[in-house]
Symmetry: C2
Subunit: 197 residues, 2 copies
């Protein structure tokens, strides 16, 4: 199995590669530390992609979406420290191969990758319970919360997305209520915690 790895922490990437190198049927052919490098490295002759979700310049989910837009069909297994419903929902929507958590036993990783390569889907057990709750935020609210999270004012957000300040106000107000928060910052934090951003 030719494997591509995507992970922004070099030490972890190296360690995982060394773990997988123990398997006779797995060959790590490409290691990328960022979304940009992964895109630049394409096209690749790989059978499977193992990717940490959170990269410095984006997420592995963005990369999966980009690949699908390019018409590329390669199974991808996500890896993350966190079980976030938002990530899970996007992974499901993109029909990815799996979503594993970093607290899984190391011995099982290779076997899970083989299962995905054979066509099965592998989702970590703690994620099973998160299957239902989906993102209550609209795409607009998501965008606006991300900008608010960066400390931008209503004015600045309005300019950024070419909307009136009033619209931004209402949009934020709605997001705050949906996240049951008291202000935009708390709303953004809760949304990010839940993986909705």
């Amino acid at each position: 199995m030719r494997l591509m790895m995507l992970e922004d922490q070099s030490l972890i990437m190296g360690a995982l590669a060394s773990l997988l190198a123990l398997e006779p049927d797995i060959e790590v052919v490409c290691q990328c530390s960022s979304l940009a490098k992964a895109k630049a490295a394409w096209p690749q002759q790989v059978d499977l992609i193992l990717a940490d979700i959170e990269l410095g310049d984006g997420t592995a989910l963005d990369f999966a979406q980009w690949l699908q837009q390019q018409g590329v069909v390669v199974p991808m297994v996500l890896l993350s420290t966190f079980a976030r419903p938002g990530y899970l929902a996007r992974a499901k929507a993109l029909n990815l191969g799996g979503y594993l958590l970093k607290d899984m036993p190391a011995e099982q990783l290779a076997q899970q990758l083989r299962l995905v390569l054979s066509g099965q889907q592998c989702f970590a057990r703690p994620l099973q319970s998160l299957m239902q709750p989906n993102n209550p935020l609209s795409e607009r609210e998501r965008q606006v919360l991300i900008l608010a999270e960066q400390g931008k004012s209503t004015q600045q957000i309005a300019l950024s997305i070419h909307r009136s300040p009033g619209w931004v106000r209402n949009c934020l107000s709605s997001a705050i209520q949906k996240m049951q928060a008291n202000n935009r910052i708390e709303a953004a934090l809760r949304a990010r915690d839940a993986g909705f951003l």
Copy 2:
């Protein structure tokens, strides 16, 4: 070198162990996934401890302190995703062997461990800039910014730290100016980026 590992994410622990197993002079003799297990596993015949700082039930710094109270003298190397001045200060105070970041090159890990075993101290380069007291924020401003970052209101912050809302307002205003920001969120972001929080 007999090595003890402390890391709460099994996959990462297994991967790191597999990476270090490639070194002929390193033998991983003990793997613990929590502070409680590490304490229970003691006494150990080990030459060096490699520990992730943040464990589920405490920190590796707590373990180092506990060991010193037991009169145990074993060098410890901390590992973390984050370069936090608070951790660094405690690591220095406890005179630990090193503090490495997970974005370091995997090939260098073993060599760094050997250096620490030989008596040297190894602190990741990004931590060097946190060494000097160039932090413009007072300890109060730091505390208040951390609470503001969590979306807390002036009122809530005042209650948390037992100060008047007016004082919190002034303190935040001062922090905002020092960080050359436009509001508390931007100030907190800049401060965190600079490693001041």
